[in-house]
């Protein structure tokens, strides 16, 4: 395991530092030398046209892929982790990086509450003495489970799902499933939350509520949020910092206001301009929609 001893954090160390990340599948280069940082207590958005490699970045960060090249350093309050060297589920277990999925992945047959309890698996597993203690009814399992339920109730309240707590997760409406997936990710007590298109398929009111929820998570939990999103009202409305990918390369990196003006970004989204007067008009259009 690549867990170095917890080091005193210096103010300049960002929560997540991605350096020279490349991911190749055979001859296909999905990500090509991408570097960026995601500070603590900020929402960092990753945007880009379809196929730009956004989800691949997430999969590298959360251990679903092993990067071909690159260093992913997580400077969490509980220690420093080199994510590219930790395998699979341990990134969530030890480094506490949580994620959601583009196509919602809930435990559809289990109840909403159970989804949130399963997310606290490792904590409860320790409390139940690897199940044996809990099975024979000793140890602090009962108390641990009560606390887990209380944490779950807290998240149910925040995501307005309390009334559906005992219903199967698959029976929730689409927006509810999106919120539940975020609540479930928060139940592992993450230091970095990676959200893969959380607003996809939401209506205007729901995506507004999503914005509020994400801002609350950022402000109250002091964690870093990494966000892939196509919905510009979400991206421009809440992100502190935007990274733009195109064809696996980073083409821009900066505050939302700067990104809107960026010529590379406009070209990537709308293609090469034929007339000299197009960029300003297009920029204005994006400005209007984004604001």
């Amino acid at each position: 395991m690549s867990m170095a001893a917890p080091q005193p954090q210096t103010a300049v160390d960002p929560l997540l530092r991605v350096e020279h990340l490349s991911m190749r599948f055979g001859g296909l280069v999905a990500i090509d030398d991408v570097s960026f940082e995601a500070p603590q207590n900020q929402i960092t958005a990753i945007i880009g046209p379809n196929g730009a490699g956004k989800t691949t970045v997430f999969n590298c960060l959360t251990g679903f892929y092993k990067p071909t090249i690159g260093r992913l350093t997580l400077n969490a309050p509980h220690g420093r982790f080199l994510l590219e060297q930790i395998d699979g589920f341990r990134i969530a277990q030890r480094a506490r990086v949580a994620r959601t999925f583009q196509n919602i992945r809930l435990f559809a047959g289990m109840s909403v509450l159970e989804n949130l309890i399963v997310a606290q698996h490792n904590k409860l597993m320790r409390a139940s003495g690897m199940t044996l203690g809990g099975l024979f009814g000793f140890g602090g399992y009962r108390e641990a489970e009560r606390q887990a339920v209380e944490l779950a109730r807290d998240w149910l309240d925040r995501t307005a799902l309390t009334a559906h707590a005992d219903a199967p997760a698959g029976s929730l409406p689409y927006g509810g499933q999106r919120r539940l997936e975020i609540a479930r990710a928060m139940c592992i007590d993450p230091v970095l939350l990676c959200l893969d298109e959380p607003a996809a398929g939401l209506n205007a009111r729901e995506s507004h509520e999503l914005n509020e929820l994400l801002l609350r998570i950022r402000d109250e939990h002091k964690i870093g949020v990494l966000l892939i999103e196509h919905d510009m009202s979400v991206v421009m409305g809440i992100s502190d910092h935007i990274v733009v990918l195109d064809y696996g390369r980073k083409i821009a990196d900066g505050a939302p206001a700067a990104i809107r003006q960026d010529a590379n970004v406009i070209r990537a989204y709308l293609g090469e301009p034929e007339h000299e007067d197009l960029p300003s008009a297009v920029a204005a259009d994006i400005e209007k929609r984004g604001g």
């Binding site: 699979g88 589920f89 994620r99 289990m110 159970e114 309890i117 399963v118 698996h121 597993m125 139940s128």
Partner: protein, 514 residues
């Protein structure tokens, strides 16, 4: 058939016009297919006569089958077309006439000519089909009426689900009480036979509950479950035969051996899902059986191991006379109750019955408890979505391996009991069909449902045993039972899943109106 009828049911209620040419075309087509199939399978029969094989024909049967299918197809078309009532009446009439004839036939041989087929068993089978059509038509008609009055299907589903949830603990309790009282009920001369069948059913219930951990909870399709059963049986037989160890020492050892075989199987299949997993586990089951046959200098080969030690009542034997330095259970009870008991072979049968009942109940209590533990929830989460499990920091390797190991352990216990009961183990007892039957019990009972498995085991094991007189048709009934359950309850007999934890009422604040 039934599935099609369901998909078109929204059309019911509106008076649809019937497309007679289409209905006739369908019926003729079905009849023609029946004719082609039946002419070779039913129409010609080989019989061994004095001069070798001769052919005899059964063309009237073919004709009856063709006519039956023709009208049956028309009845189904009527149901689908929105006129279930005539189909119900027609099918009901046919069912009624056949039933009356079948019942009265014993006293009135002349009625025999009214029966469609020569063999009585086939006639009984033939009654079932119009009966099914009749029931189905009635169901469709009833639903159409309900829809007309504005009540939906889902409401009934929820009601039944809620009712099942409230009644389930009581049903379970009553079942346990009945099971405990069973050896003391007066069944007369058939008592021993009934206890024997119940012991067999309980063995399968225990196996079903064990496999349910692997298939029902963890969602790992295991077609080689019988291998662990074999490991348990052979562990006990070999340890007992070679070292003279008693049943009570061998029972936990058999469980441990079987569990380690579970881990052994688990490792190579960690990355496999669905069909691939099924094929590898199937191969594993066959491997174990073939090793048992070919490793004859250890396992006794195809002859198996006989003279497996019989279990004792905590050291007190059930034999007529105890070996040197031991006492019989009859002596023990005589001295405890101050009443003379003599040798009675029924005691051993009852003891074995209670033994498997206790083992099965332990399996059940374990499953019920572990479902509320993080491990059990992780199993279910793994069944639902393995990728999401990884993203939540659940170790999929450990979770899968524990499911395989725990499931295998209970099969090992059951196997060790099997060896002790039979007094003889051989590879023949552990063929693939056993795995298939256990899996059928789990799937037909409703994946994950403990009571459903009991019902399915009674239907699939108990009933065929009771109707042993029907010989080969027994298996036909077995298959038909499976098909019918799959058509009507594709999720299993009791497919309702109850959450393992419910949100307690918050004492701090009143429940918010949502």
């Amino acid at each position: 058939m039934a599935a099609n009828a369901t998909s078109t049911s929204p059309a019911i209620g509106v008076a649809a016009t019937l497309d007679w040419p289409e209905i006739l075309k369908t019926a003729v087509f079905a009849a023609a297919i029946t004719f082609l199939l039946a002419i070779s399978i039913v129409g010609v029969e080989t019989q061994s006569g004095p001069g070798g094989l001769t052919l005899s024909t059964r063309f009237p049967e073919v004709a009856i089958a063709v006519v039956g299918v023709f009208f049956g197809s028309m009845a189904l078309s009527l149901i689908r077309g929105g006129y279930p009532v005539p189909a119900m009446i027609g099918a009901g009439l046919v069912t009624g006439v056949l039933l009356v004839v079948l019942v009265l036939e014993a006293e009135n041989p002349s009625l025999k000519y009214l029966l469609p087929f020569q063999a009585v068993v086939i006639d009984w089978g033939a009654v079932i089909i119009p009966a099914i059509i009749c029931v189905r038509a009635a169901q469709v008609a009833w639903r159409a009426r309900r829809q007309a009055t504005g009540a939906g299907d889902t409401a009934i589903g929820i009601q039944i689900g809620g009712l099942a949830r409230r009644l389930m603990p009581w049903v379970g309790l009553i079942m346990v009480v009945v099971a405990i009282a069973l050896p003391w009920l007066p069944f007369g001369s058939s008592q021993r036979k009934i206890i024997d069948i119940c012991t067999l059913v309980l063995t399968y219930i225990m196996l079903g509950w064990g496999l349910n951990i692997v298939v029902g909870l963890a969602g790992l399709l295991d077609l080689g479950y019988v291998a662990f059963y074999a490991v348990g049986a052979y562990s006990y037989a070999m340890l007992g035969a070679n070292f003279g160890w008693s049943f009570w020492i061998c029972l936990p050892l058999a469980g441990i051996f079987a569990a380690s075989f579970g881990v052994l199987l688990g490792f190579p299949v960690l990355r496999l899902r669905g069909d691939y997993l099924a094929i590898v586990t199937l191969g594993f089951g066959e491997m174990v059986r073939i090793i048992l046959i070919n490793w004859w200098w250890v396992t006794g080969g195809p002859n198996g191991i006989n003279k497996v030690a019989r279990p004792s009542f905590f050291g007190f034997t059930f034999e007529r006379t105890a070996p040197e330095g031991h006492r019989t259970v009859y002596d023990l009870f005589s001295s405890v109750f101050g009443q003379e008991f003599t040798y009675n072979p029924y005691w051993r049968v009852v003891f074995l019955y209670y033994l498997i009942l206790a083992c099965a109940l332990v399996t059940n209590v374990f499953t019920l408890r572990v479902r509320r533990m993080p491990l059990g929830r992780a199993w279910e989460a793994l069944r639902e979505d393995e990728t999401a499990c990884r993203a939540l920091g659940i170790n999929p390797t450990n979770t899968k391996l524990t499911a395989f190991a725990v499931g295998a352990m209970f099969a090992g216990f059951a196997g060790s009991f099997f060896g002790a009961r039979q007094g003889f183990v051989s590879p023949e007892s552990f063929v693939f069909i056993e795995s298939a039957v256990i899996l059928a019990i789990v799937v037909l009972g409703g994946l994950g449902s403990q009571v459903g498995i009991v019902l399915a085991a009674i239907v699939l094991i108990g009933l065929p045993e009771l109707f042993r007189e029907l010989k080969d048709y027994r298996m036909l009934a077995f298959g038909m039972g499976m098909v019918l359950i799959m058509i009507w309850r594709p999720g299993g007999l009791l497919a309702h899943r109850d959450p393992t934890i419910r949100l307690p009422k918050d004492p701090a604040k009143p429940k918010s109106p949502a």
